[in-house]
């Protein structure tokens, strides 16, 4: 068997990274920001009616698996996706793939993921990685959030592929089966941008998009009275965790999106995208300033009304800027949509 030349390229986020690495293995020259932009990965949602460990859900991206699905569809790539009831079968079919030199994406839970830093091991079941080779009981893993190639034993791999709890992965695995000879990158990009602009400005519910950011900013002002200092700061800490952790590339994916817009300027030869990229970077810096200020409150374990007014105001400013940016970007995307 020849060595499968699988190029492990680290990414900020697992789903974009696996998608980009798999597509690139099959000859499509693509990177994480492009997958993220084409798959309409940027999002905002604050949903107090949904709670995780007693804390309202705040999200900076759509539900797991969607970025990947959209990117594949918009680029015209056919994927094979399988889930299993029987762990033995799930492992033997993976083995068969690896035998044929097919790098295979797998969904796993991170609680028992042995190579992960302990502080990141929660019962989270939507992590993605690529298995690309097996030697005996050892699987060679390209986990896009890790700097280097890692390994898993058969037992440990089976365990994480069949993690239990919310959204069980059920041994899910996927790989590209057909890549078109010519990909219409511009079309795919414009579709991706239009969807993101819609999500950020036009969803008629106040939980989502720029409206959602403003909604969170306003609700936050009531937390200290409603919940007491301790719980209010837990809520605030959760927003920062979702924004900065779990591989967002910083500022809740805003920098990654700015990198994507910069690529668009090159691909479309249109400097207006570069101007949007700059604005997006500034908004990303605003998000980071918010995260820093919020973390100081968490660290001090106490807060005053004026502290909450200040973090809330920071978010309201971001909401206004994002509303304006995505409205203007929407116009540009629609203009290009007519030309291509």
């Amino acid at each position: 068997m020849t060595e499968p030349a699988f190029e492990h390229r680290q990414s900020a986020h697992c789903e974009n990274g696996v998608t980009a690495n798999l597509f690139r293995f099959h000859g499509l020259d693509i990177n994480e920001p492009l997958v993220f932009g084409i798959g309409s990965g940027l999002f905002f949602a604050h949903m107090p009616f949904m709670k995780l460990n007693g804390i309202p859900v705040t999200g900076f991206r759509p539900f797991p698996g969607i970025i990947f699905q959209r990117a594949a569809k918009r680029l015209g790539i056919k994927m094979k996706v399988k889930t299993y009831r029987n762990p033995q079968k799930a492992m033997s079919e993976l083995d068969a793939n690896l035998e044929q030199g097919i790098p295979t994406g797998c969904v796993v839970g991170v609680f028992h993921l042995t190579y992960f830093p302990e502080p990141y091991r929660f019962h989270f079941n939507a992590h993605n990685l690529v298995a690309f080779e097996r030697k005996g009981d050892t699987y060679y893993i390209s986990d896009p959030v890790m700097e280097t190639i890692t390994t898993l034993s058969r037992r440990d791999f089976e365990r994480v592929r069949f993690a239990k709890g919310t959204a069980r992965p059920k041994g899910k695995m996927y790989w590209p089966v057909a890549i078109p000879e010519e990909v219409n990158l511009r079309r795919a990009i414009i579709k991706g941008i239009r969807k993101t602009c819609y999500d950020m400005t036009e969803i008629p519910l106040h939980f989502f998009g720029a409206k959602g950011i403003r909604y969170l900013a306003k609700r936050m002002l009531k937390w200290p009275q409603q919940l007491g200092d301790r719980k209010a700061l837990q809520y605030l800490g959760q927003v920062v965790r979702m924004q900065e952790e779990i591989g967002t590339g910083g500022a809740g994916f805003r920098f990654m999106y700015a990198a994507f817009l910069q690529e668009c300027a090159r691909i479309f030869n249109d400097d207006r995208f570069a101007a949007f990229s700059l604005q997006m970077t500034e908004i990303g810096d605003d998000w980071r300033a918010f995260a820093y200020e919020a973390s100081r409150l968490v660290k001090n374990r106490s807060s005053q009304g004026s502290d909450w007014a200040s973090v809330s105001l920071a978010l309201q400013g971001i909401a206004t800027k994002e509303q304006q940016l995505f409205e203007a970007l929407y116009k540009l995307a629609k203009e290009w949509d007519k030309k291509i």
Partner: protein, 138 residues
């Protein structure tokens, strides 16, 4: 964020990997940069673990007061509720409810004890013990 502003505040990543950021280089081009961590993130991650560790310490005290069995302690330590442990161990929820009561774990069958131990990746012997608080993060 600019390339030279990338924080290198060691902490939660434990040196096992680094975070990848998208940053602007001197010429205004987006490039990748690696970070060992950021203080703001370390603070909110520690907050998440403080919540978990406090819950474990509470259950530990409960077990010492003989208000629950050591099974409840190991569940809390593994961030598992009854539903999740039932899925991992294959033991029914009603049986688990009996076993978390004081003295309840002794009534479990050998197969159930083994199923619990394997869910927590510990030995059956350890299942009946609390961890030394000094060697653990609770």
């Amino acid at each position: 964020m600019k390339e030279k502003e990338v924080p290198q505040d060691d902490g939660m990543l434990q040196g096992k990997t680094r975070d990848l950021y998208y940053v602007l280089d001197e010429n205004g081009n987006y490039v990748n940069a690696l970070s060992t961590g950021w203080e703001a993130k370390n603070i909110v991650m520690q907050q998440a673990w403080d919540i978990i560790n406090e819950a474990v310490a509470e259950v530990r005290a409960k077990v010492l007061r003989n208000e629950a069995s050591t099974l409840l302690y190991h569940m809390e330590k593994n961030q598992m509720d009854i539903k999740l442990l039932a899925q991992y161990s294959g033991v029914s929820r009603s049986r688990i409810r009996e076993h978390v009561r004081p003295g309840g774990l002794e009534k479990a069958s050998q197969a159930e004890k083994e199923a619990y131990a394997s869910s927590f990746r510990i030995s059956v012997e350890q299942l009946f013990k609390l961890d030394d608080p000094h060697t653990n993060n609770d």
